[in-house]
Each structure stands twice: as structure tokens, then as C-alpha cells.
Symmetry: C2
């Protein structure tokens, strides 16, 4: 059955804010969240009292720092006006993207005119083995985790399957890491703003064969925020640098890798979300000027690009090798350094992607894509069981 | 600024399902969730493949059983159709209510026609001291928890303040526990389906002065589910027992008890949510025939009733004493036994309230309120920092 009432408001991003991603030993997640939120609020030219809904993207702060119930917690810290709605949204590593998606729908439907979306995670409060265990809860705790698998293992399996099916090698993956570190080297907000060489890549320890250290995104602390506005509200405010959200899609699929509908080198939720988003945006893949996608591991950049429809299956493995995904290439990808080199504070990641796309469309990025008009972000949860795709256009 | 586009679809509850609340040693949260969901799906006269969006209300299964990313996890277990949207919503003890609220808005706006809302928590997988610690994360981890306070402590403070301000005594609170246990004694799905006496109440150990064991809701496992439908969809399906959602409100306030805008015997988020819900429903307090509210502690039933506007401040303490809140009284409250005696599996609680209201409006409740046409639920998070109110009408 088809829906007959079409929501009809236009939705804009009027403000963006982000912290440096990395290890913030002396800050709690609340400090990071406040920093990003206040930057976004200032950037939007409003005050905290103008916000009427609050969506928090956060994966597991209860486990990282003993704080759940984040909407009222951050409501308190930000001094928002009385009696607004706030809620936390969680879909593993796609928590930030889903928070953005829900907020987008709220404005589009006319429920709110000014919404703050705040993604945050402080992970380094726990030691690495504990963090790995917390992250593993995003897999299937009954059917997968008892085997001992954690996330590098999932993506190692996907890599091996990809190499087997389509070819490709660690040499190709190295080029993705080198590209993303090159982008990060020019972004002071990145966790690892430094270039790496092929030698660095191959000398680094193996994590889960065939993925080495430089194939893996790091453990990070950080926050990112965007202020969304309805069209009417932007007209009554002198907001500069508006970017329109022209399409969005979100979907889930089976959580366990063994239960995917296609083979494990295909991300069904990513593909579905992108179909929905492109249909709504009424544009084609080749209209997109810049992409932020979920490279939690180098192989993820490859299969995201293919599942999003930018490359045929088996072909994205050569994208970085051929220089196509550099900021000055034909399809710039992860111009901020990506999860690999910018960092991956789980709940902040999806919102941080939106921040980078807005910077690009405003012409304010560190690795500026010349004349960028349309940008796309793809934020994935777990080993691909959830995904959000959002498409943005310069106003 | 006021919103100009009004969402316009009517929203109905077409199916309900609930498990027994209690200790389910041999079931995981997934078993419980499937049981409640399949009951609701059957009750709605649909199949899992008809559902197009999934909202999960869950507080902390990552901490209780090592599973986050619940939307795809339960998507897998339920065999839902490919490519639907699913997300988990968390606002502490109001997680279920907020999931319901977001789902309601999705249908109202025309984003979906058939939505499954599934609240679940399996708490007994951890020992009581650990559960207490997990629950405490819903308070303020920086400004409150270092004092050593946990939830019985918060509500003990509120009780003491209430007694000081308005009078009242443990004798009055005892009558609330006795009433809710009486209701539960006739509900086989309740965790404690047995009556208690005043003697039981006073002989029980003190937990946090002046709150004793029988003032406190228990640690529970359980799940509850509802299927929401758009009006168009109900017309194309032979759903019996439809109940319309005629109003809903949700809000947050400062998380720490010390930072509340009024004194601590007033629940601002509860009051705000109810104002919004009543305005939308276009009815008055005295139109309500039956109420499900958040009695995590006996005192909470009192201050919820006052903050919801059913009693003047200082007067709800006598409601149970006077027999007014029994199922055959003038304002029946917690006819299923309430959190106190039915149980309080955190994420399931808000959805379970909706299940009971629907039963009442269908005339199928264990403690049936004669001729009930309009019901209200109020689901609170933490010590009152978040709240959802939903109003339902018999069709």
C-alpha cells in the first residue's frame, strides 16, 4: 500500500560544528558534545533557546562512561529552552546517521522548525580490549560472538571473499589508507593528520588477516553537530551557507553476516538506503560531486562504493589506485580523512560526515572539491546491518 | 515560530502483544521480544512481511546481555520483509514510550502505514547490585552518582519533600502498593500476581527511608509490542478492536534532581507532555476513563497524578486511600498492577502501558473499567527528566 499524504517541507542544514577527533583524556563526552553543539548553534546564527527538538546519536556511552539517558543530560548542559522534545537514537556505528535521518523527517513533516542533531562518543575512557568487547555487541551476541569474532574479523572475512570473487590485493587496500591519510594530513580536526607510505602500511602489524593496522579505523573521542531548519525558519533568519537536504534513505537488514540476503561482499542496507535517497533527490549517481562514506576498514570503502551504485561490483577496488577518489579526482571520497584517518567516535561519525559535506558545499573544506554542488553521505552500522544515506545540495 | 504544515493522518493501534513480566531465566531478551511481537502481529491480523518500520524501545541490553544494535537484531529474528527501516530509541525508563511516540509521528506524517513498536528488557541476566548500577546511569553520572545515590534514593528524597510540603505518610503509600498488588492479583501476566496487606508492607525491609520494599518496583524481564496502522491501511484490513491514538506529547527537562525548574515534588516533563497531548486530543482530564502511569515507586504514582493534572498538588496522596484509583473507582490507575506489581522491564514498560489501555478500551482487561472509552498512559524516564503521554480512544 502506498502512502497518500506526502510530507512537504524543505529541510536545510543551517549550522555545523565538530570537535577534533582523537584521544581527549581530560574531557568527558559531555564536554565534547557541548563544544560541537555550541559551534553548530553559533554557526546557525541562533541561540540554544531557539531549538525545539534534540536528537542524540550515541552508541554506548552507558558502557564507555556510565551515562545513559543522554537527551536530558545534554539538554541540561546546553541550556536549551523548557519543555522541548529530546531523544537518543542508537543503531551501532550508524547512530549519528539515524539521528540525522529522524530529525530530517521531523522537520519535513512539520513537527519542528529548528532541530539540533548531536552525535558523540567518548571511547578512550575504557581500555582497548574493553572497547573491542563493547563494539562487538553490535554484532549478533548469540550466533556470532561466541565464535570469538570481533569487527576486524568480520571485515577480514568480507575482504577475503571480495579478493576471491573479484580479485584485488593488500596493495590495492594500501592505496585507500594512503589516500585517506593524505586527506587527513590537511585536516587539523583529524585524529591522524599525517601521511603514510606504502612501506608504513606493510610494516604495520597484521590485525585480522588480510587486514593490517592501517586498514582499521581507530578508537576515538569526538562530537559533531548540525542544526536543521525548515524553509520558513531560514527565511526569518539571516542564515548564511545553507545546504538543502534533498533526499534520505534508511534501512536495516539481518544482523549476522551469515544471514545476509546476498553474498557478504554486498551491503544490502547500503544499497537500499541509497536507492531511496536517490529517488527522493531526483538525481543520478553522476550528479554527485563528493562522497563521505563509512570506511571503518579499507575494504568497507570499496564495498560501500559498489553498494551505493558508484562503481560496478569488483571495480571500486581500483578507485584509489587510479586516484579517482582523491579530492581532486573524478569522485572524491572521504575528503576529511574518513573513519580511517579522521577517526571514528561511533555516535559522532554519521553527523561528522554531514559536517564535511556541508563544508564542501559551502566551499570551506580543507580538501576543497572545486565547484561541489551535490554531496552524499553513507553511514553504516555493524557489519552492514543498518545504513543511512543522505544527499545534500548547495543552495 | 509556528509550524504551518500540519501532519494529518489518523493513527490506530491494531494489534497488541505482551509476555508475562518476571524472571525468565531460560529466555533471552530476543525470545521475549519475539513472543510479544508475534502476538501483536497476529492480533493485528497481518504477517511480519506487512510491517514497513520497526521502532525498538530498550534501555540497556548492551549492559544486561551484551547486545546493542537491536533494530537489525530483532529484524532478523522476526523475519520482517527486506529493506525496511528500523531504529532503537532510548530515554531510560521512558524508552518504550518514546519509541511509541516516534512511531506515532511516523504514521501521522505519512512516512509509513504499518509500524511495529517493540519494547523489551531482560534485566535478571545480571545480579541485583549490577542492575542497580546500570539503572543509575540514567541519573547524572557527573553531578549525582558520585554522591552514591541510586534510584530508590532519588524517590526517597522526593517522598520526604512531599510529606514535608503537603503532608502524607507511609500509611498512605502503603495503600498505593496494596491497590496495585490487588490489581496484579487478577492479572496472570503480572510479575507478582498476589495481594499484599498493610502488615506485609510495614514488615518489609526499608530500602531508602521512607521507602520500603513494597514502595519499589522490581527488577523484571519482559516485552510488549503494538502494531500501529494508518487509517487507510485499517480500511483495507479486517482489523478488529481498533483503538485510535488521539494525542501524544513528549518532553525532556534537566536530568539532575537539583536542577529541576520547580521543586522536586513536581514533574515538569510529565506536566508538559500531558499539556501537549490533551491539547492535541481536544479532551479534558475528566474525559479520561483509565490511566496507566509510571509508578516506579509508590510516590511516583502520587506526583505523576498531580503533574498530569488529575489531582491538585498535595491531593493525590489520598487517591488510593479513598479507593478512587481502584479499577472500579472514579479514576482507575494502573489496572494491570502498575510497575510495582506487574513489573518494570525498563524498555517494555511504556509499550506495556499501551497494551493495557488498548485492552481496557476493547473491554478485554483483567480488571475491566466499565464502559471505558478514553485512556491515557504516562511513561517517565529517570527521576522525571523525560516523559511521554499518549491518549487513546475506543473506535
Amino acid at each position: 500500500m502506498k502512502t497518500t499524504v506526502k510530507p512537504m517541507k524543505k529541510v536545510f542544514i543551517a549550522g555545523i560544528g565538530i570537535t577534533k577527533f582523537g584521544k581527549h583524556s581530560e574531557k568527558t563526552f559531555r564536554d565534547l558534545a557541548i563544544e560541537a553543539a555550541m559551534k553548530a548553534i553559533d554557526d546557525a546564527g541562533i541561540t540554544p533557546k531557539d531549538i525545539t527538538e534534540l536528537y542524540i546519536g550515541n552508541f554506548a556511552q552507558g558502557m564507555f562512561e556510565g551515562q545513559t539517558h543522554l537527551a536530558p543530560t545534554l539538554y541540561s548542559d546546553l541550556g536549551l529552552k523548557r519543555n522541548i522534545k529530546g531523544v537518543r537514537v542508537e543503531n551501532a556505528c550508524a547512530s549519528g546517521g539515524f539521528a540525522l535521518y529522524e530529525a530530517y523527517r521531523a522537520i519535513k513533516a512539520g513537527y519542528a522548525d529548528v532541530v539540533l542533531v548531536l552525535g558523540v562518543e567518548k571511547m578512550t575512557a575504557q581500555k582497548t580490549p574493553v572497547v573491542t568487547k563493547i563494539l562487538a555487541t553490535a554484532g549478533d551476541a548469540i550466533y556470532e560472538l561466541p565464535t570469538g569474532i570481533t569487527f576486524p574479523g568480520y571485515f577480514a572475512l568480507m575482504t577475503t571473499a571480495y579478493f576471491h570473487e573479484f580479485g584485488g590485493s593488500r596493495e590495492d587496500l594500501a592505496e585507500i589508507a594512503i589516500k585517506n591519510h593524505y586527506h587527513a594530513s590537511r585536516n587539523p580536526y583529524a585524529q591522524y593528520p599525517k601521511q603514510i607510505t606504502s612501506e608504513d602500511y606493510f610494516k604495520a602489524p597484521m590485525i585480522a588477516e588480510p587486514l593490517g593496522l592501517y586498514d582499521c579505523s581507530p578508537i576515538s573521542d569526538g562530537a559533531a553537530a548540525v542544526v536543521l531548519m525548515s524553509e520558513e525558519y531560514t527565511k526569518n533568519n539571516s542564515s548564511d551557507g545553507l545546504v538543502e537536504v534533498i533526499g534520505a534513505g534508511a534501512s536495516v537488514t539481518n544482523v549476522a553476516l551469515t544471514e545476509r540476503f546476498k553474498d557478504i561482499t554486498w551491503l544490502e542496507a547500503t544499497a537500499t538506503s541509497s536507492e531511496i535517497a536517490f529517488k527522493e533527490a531526483k538525481i543520478e549517481r553522476n550528479d554527485v560531486d563528493v562522497v563521505e562514506l563509512h570506511d571503518c576498514f579499507t575494504i568497507a570503502e570499496v564495498i560501500q562504493l559498489e553498494s551505493l551504485g558508484f562503481y560496478r561490483r569488483g571495480e571500486a577496488i581500483n578507485a584509489a589506485v587510479n586516484g579517482e577518489t582523491y579530492y581532486d579526482g573524478k569522485l572524491p571520497v572521504n575528503t576529511d580523512g574518513g573513519l580511517k584517518a579522521k577517526g571514528h567516535p561511533i555516535g559522532a561519525t554519521g553527523v561528522g560526515m554531514a559536517v564535511e559535506i556541508v563544508k564542501q558545499l559551502r566551499g570551506e573544506a580543507y580538501n576543497q572539491v572545486e565547484g561541489a554542488e551535490i554531496g552524499l553521505m553513507s553511514n553504516m552500522g555493524g557489519s552492514g546491518a543498518s545504513n543511512v544515506v543522505v544527499i545534500f545540495r548547495r543552495v
